[in-house]
Structures are given as structure tokens and as C-alpha cells.
């Protein structure tokens, strides 16, 4: 299953809820303001690091670059472009957007 999160973890509970309800082996893609969840140095980083034991984390490159955060990605998080976003949707049998 692919989870899509588009909100900053500092503003909303979306990423936290997503990580709480993502089963082991599922994938989480961070887009739009959600990309801040994939960045280093902030107070939410630990939760993402811990989650990476069970789920794969992806982040949308175009949204990272727009926000000037392209050089801050947590090690082990995979950066994808819109084509990669499409591939993730195709590779997983279903998806949920945490609006």
C-alpha cells in the first residue's frame, strides 16, 4: 500500500497518523508541504527515522527543491520525480491520501 502525505508534520497530525496506521512493508510518499517530514535536523526527524524500520519513505524532488530543502534529506529516504510518483502508484495495489 502507498500512503501519500502532503502536510507539514509541524502543522498537522497527518504524517503522525499515517505512520501510526501504515502496515509493515508499506510505502509513504511525502509531497507538497509534506516534504518537511523528510528533512534532517528538526524535532520530527526521530519519528521518521524510527518509522523507517517498518516502512519505506519517499519524497517528491520537485517539492523539495521548491522549498530549498533538497540538501537536507534524511539518509535512506528516496527522492523521486513526478514520473517516480506515478511508478509508486502503479507498483502498489492501493493508495491513501492523508488529507
Amino acid at each position: 500500500m502507498l500512503h501519500i502525505v502532503n502536510k507539514s508534520p509541524y502543522e498537522r497530525n497527518s504524517l503522525e497518523s499515517c505512520l501510526r496506521l501504515a502496515t509493515n512493508g508499506s510505502a509513504v510518499l511525502l509531497i507538497e508541504d509534506g516534504i518537511y517530514g523528510a528533512t534532517k535536523g528538526g524535532s520530527f526527524e526521530g519519528k521518521v527515522q524510527a518509522a523507517m524500520a517498518g516502512v519505506k519513505i519517499y519524497v517528491l524532488g520537485p517539492d523539495l527543491s521548491a522549498r530549498g530543502m533538497a540538501d537536507r534529506v534524511i539518509d535512506g529516504v528516496n527522492v523521486v520525480d513526478y514520473g517516480g510518483f506515478v511508478d509508486l502508484v502503479a507498483e502498489h495495489s492501493n493508495c491513501q491520501s492523508w488529507l
Binding site: 500500500m1 497530525n13 497518523s17 501510526r20 496506521l21 501504515a22 502496515t23 508499506s26 495495489s93 492501493n94 493508495c95 491513501q96 491520501s97 492523508w98 488529507l99
Partner: protein, 133 residues
């Protein structure tokens, strides 16, 4: 409000999919709960395997004793009780979301199935289509 009958063509060649409508927003502050219900009701005509999940502030949608007179909005909470008549009976509520808000099943206006986070996660993972509000 819920009488629209456009596109009720249910001849989809017998495909039955698992549809889950995921509700994570409180009622009235935004329209998502209300317009979400509109989709759920329409989906009943397509004879799919439909369920609703109530997570986070979505559990507030089911709170008893809603009275919207003073904000001049329509109280749509009785619609949740009408869902049974549409054969929509799988209303899953996440236990952790209820507890974090100090609510219990007795506070809800309709019978629900309470799932803990692991059960809810498994239920979501097995769906074919998830539509989130």
C-alpha cells in the same frame, strides 16, 4: 440534500470492489464530512463492498447531541443512522482516536465497530479503493 440520482448506472459488469471512505475531519468546521457522506450514499447504488473509517477528528462526526441551530447549518448527523438502510453497515472507528479525545462508544450516535490501530491498519491495507476526506 441526498436525493441526487445522476449517473446511477450500476451495470458495471459484476465487479465488486472494496471501497473505504476515510473520515479524518471534524464536522461543520469544514464541509468534508457532509460532502463525504454524499459520496458514500451514492456509492450504495453501485453494489460495492463499502465501508467507512473514522480516524482522528473524524470520530467527532459521530458524536451524539449535535444541535446546529445557532450556527444556521444543517445538522446532517442523523444521516449516519440512515446508512443502515443503504446497506452500509461497516463503520470502523479507531480506538486510539476515540481515547485521545476522551470519547467512548456510548458517545456515538450509531453502532460502530471499534478497531485498534493494528486492526484498522490491516483493514485499510486490504481495500481496493480508499477515498479520504
Amino acid at each position: 440534500m441526498f436525493t441526487s440520482s445522476e449517473d446511477m448506472d450500476t451495470d458495471e459488469g459484476g465487479v465488486i470492489k472494496q471501497f473505504m471512505f476515510v473520515n479524518r475531519k471534524a464536522p461543520y468546521g469544514t464541509i468534508y464530512a457532509l460532502e463525504g457522506l454524499e459520496v458514500v450514499l451514492i456509492s450504495a447504488a453501485f453494489e460495492q463492498d463499502v465501508s467507512m473509517a473514522f480516524i482522528d477528528d473524524g470520530v467527532y462526526e459521530l458524536k451524539k447531541a449535535q444541535d446546529t441551530k445557532a450556527i444556521e447549518q444543517k445538522n446532517f448527523s442523523p444521516t449516519y443512522r440512515a446508512l443502515e438502510g443503504y446497506d452500509i453497515e461497516k463503520l470502523y472507528v479507531e480506538k486510539e482516536s476515540l481515547e485521545a479525545r476522551g470519547l467512548t462508544e456510548a458517545d456515538l450516535l450509531v453502532d460502530v465497530i471499534v478497531l485498534d490501530r493494528a486492526e484498522m491498519a490491516a483493514k485499510m491495507a486490504e481495500q481496493d479503493v480508499l477515498i479520504s476526506f
